[in-house]
Amino acid sequence: MLVTSYFLICLVVEMRILNNIRNKQKIKFLDEWETLLFSYLENTGLPDELVNKIPRRKYKYLLGYLGEILLTLKGKDFDKLAALITSTKLSGYLLAKLKSNSKRNIVFSSFFVGLAKIEKAKPILQMKVKKHNDQIFFSCSTALARINSYESLDLILTEFKRYRHYGYLLLILTEFDEKICDKIIEMMKTELPDQFIVTFIRVLRYYKYQKGGQTALTVLVYSYSKEILIESLKFIEEIKYKNAIPAVSKLLEHSKPEIRSQAIKTIMKLDSKAYEDKVYSRLFDNNYEVQYQAAFAILNCCDDGEEKLSELAYDLQNSNAAAVSRMLISEKKVKEG
């Protein structure tokens, strides 16, 4: 057993040393080639010329650098740097890695082909998405989304059912451009599991997609799921979809307090004047959160909000509403300094 430990220690130390060397190489590479990269950016040289000067074994350093930079840039410089991948040997290098069976290579190259939008990679990515591995599925779907491969959308959604991590679905869908919203609205016309609907509405929220109002309203009227109702309410609030006002006002009396709370927030953003009284009545709700939300809305949206709450603040009949009012008024005083 001691021997094994000794062996393992040596292994670990060796790994550490190798890692140090790799880091030093990375920095050395950058120092050597950075000036070349910058001058390429400024001048009209061809991407090929630059890449051909770099030995193949240093490709991983170049890609590492490009990866970081492409995530933070856009515009003319982005295009030129992306061209270093798409119009040179690097493209072939990455496609070869993508075709391989190694998970590491697939994940690595899918990141770059997606970022640089290499169209040729699409068929390979579509094949890999079907592999039963969540990392590969995720990185290849993300790549397809970045390339805006809408024809792959059905494939992605079908394969996704294997994993069911809806947070990841949201990440993938938002890598498509805004046109995904139209597709989503189409898809929402059919029967879908609740979690899909929630995710789809979140995508619409992410893009603040104005044309999604009607869809959200339909969902609001027909759905029973608490999560779906809350997402729809938030979306309607964010795009200020006034057509939904009647439906939202009905939800002020929903049986679940979380929905009543959110409905208050939404209605006050849409049409605070007309619904002042209805919201005021929520101050006497039996749930603290709803009362708090109502008081907050009255205080901040109504002109005479502070007076209304002050009147209520010492109402002995309604001690809860009074206490909430007192609390919010004192908080407001402190915030105003």
Binding site: L8, V12, V13, N20, G167, T174, Y288, A323, I329, V334
Partner: protein, 466 residues
Amino acid sequence: MIIFRYMTFLYNYLLLIYSIAIGTIYLLLNILSFKRIIQYKQKMAYVDLKKIFKFQNYKPISIIVPAYNEENTIVQSIKSLLQLEYPEYQLIIVNDGSTDGTLEKMFTHFSIRQVSFIPLYKLDSMPVKSVYMSSLYPSLVVIDKANGGKADATNAGINIAKNPLITVIDADSILERDCLLKIVRPFMENEDIIAVGGTIRVANGCEIIQGNIVKIGIAKSWLARFQTVEYLRAFLFGRNGFDVLNSVMIISGAFSCFSRDALIKIGGYRKGSIGEDMEIIVRMHEEFRIENPETKITFIPDPVCWTEAPERLKILRSQRIRWQKGTIDSIRLHLKMLLNTKFGALGLIAFPYYVIFEIVGPIIEVSGYFVFVFAYIFNIVSTPFAIAFLSVVIIYGVVLSILSVILEELSFKKYPNIKDLFILFAAAVFENFGYRQIIAWWRFKATIDYISGKRSWGKMEKKGFN
């Protein structure tokens, strides 16, 4: 007389078996948790946590910080807590009847003014004198109350917390900026999760600027170094290992996160408990898992919280005595979970583990050493046996500690200097020649004290962290 010799001989074998057993269990825990850590790292590599800001699908958090006599560090703590990366959170500092200038410092630096408040819940706590809000930072709330201890202060904080997730930390915990983003993920992925713990690392030796860890380094004192290895073994691997079996029995109060509804349902922290952080978790298992067997309490392997380990023997001693008494107390209060099949691996594996190895363990170990020495002197055991015995007991320990260091190297937040890595290995070895035995002795005394009725607390001072 022969019976006596025979018993002594047997006892030595018992100790041998005990050492092999505990070593093997820890080995298994290490392996289980290592797999989990690799999975976690792979998952996090391609998830951009910060998109939570844009997706707006987060749950707001209330952070509760019980504070007692922290005037030296409270301002810096609050300043760095106000800079955590999370879309919406409330910071509640509970001044637990400090006798120094803790409250005054908050008045001066954060412009706190009194507000009218209504406690939402009625968890047991000493009376609250007033509640303040900062006019500079509206998310900062301060509760001033009569002294009642950490459990009590936390309950007072929960009573006015307005968000569905509650994070409880120590006043001197040093948190990473993205700790909240990391700790809420389990709640978002699984509705049945009611509590999540974070991994704690030792801050001694790290370079700390304004409450942030800037550079990770190893402590200068060997006592702190031994504790560093110990934390790696226990936290990074021990507790994560139990997590795989859904048998997490303790989440450190230095950094823990709960669903508020769950806390309210079980009535908050128990007043007067010695190890309140363990007691509440065990109680949560007991009360929730009967109703909903899918309830989970989990750990994130990411080291997001750094804490200062005591560097003075006296303080370390009172800490370990307190921990031991807390463990026994928590188990005793919920003994009906032992070997209870309703609780799955928790009742059948984790509970017995704690009883055998954490409670009775120190007694076996300490008495075992004495018996062994006695037996060797009186030739009840032969020299080869003695050597074999020592080898197993000590070497198993050494190997285990070394394994912990190796696994740390393969996972997170490594020590950048290769020299520190060697120091860690050295500490892993030497830990077993004295340190481990002293800790066992203290735990042994604590167990005896507890059984004989001495259940007091003992003080614990800490250095500031700047």
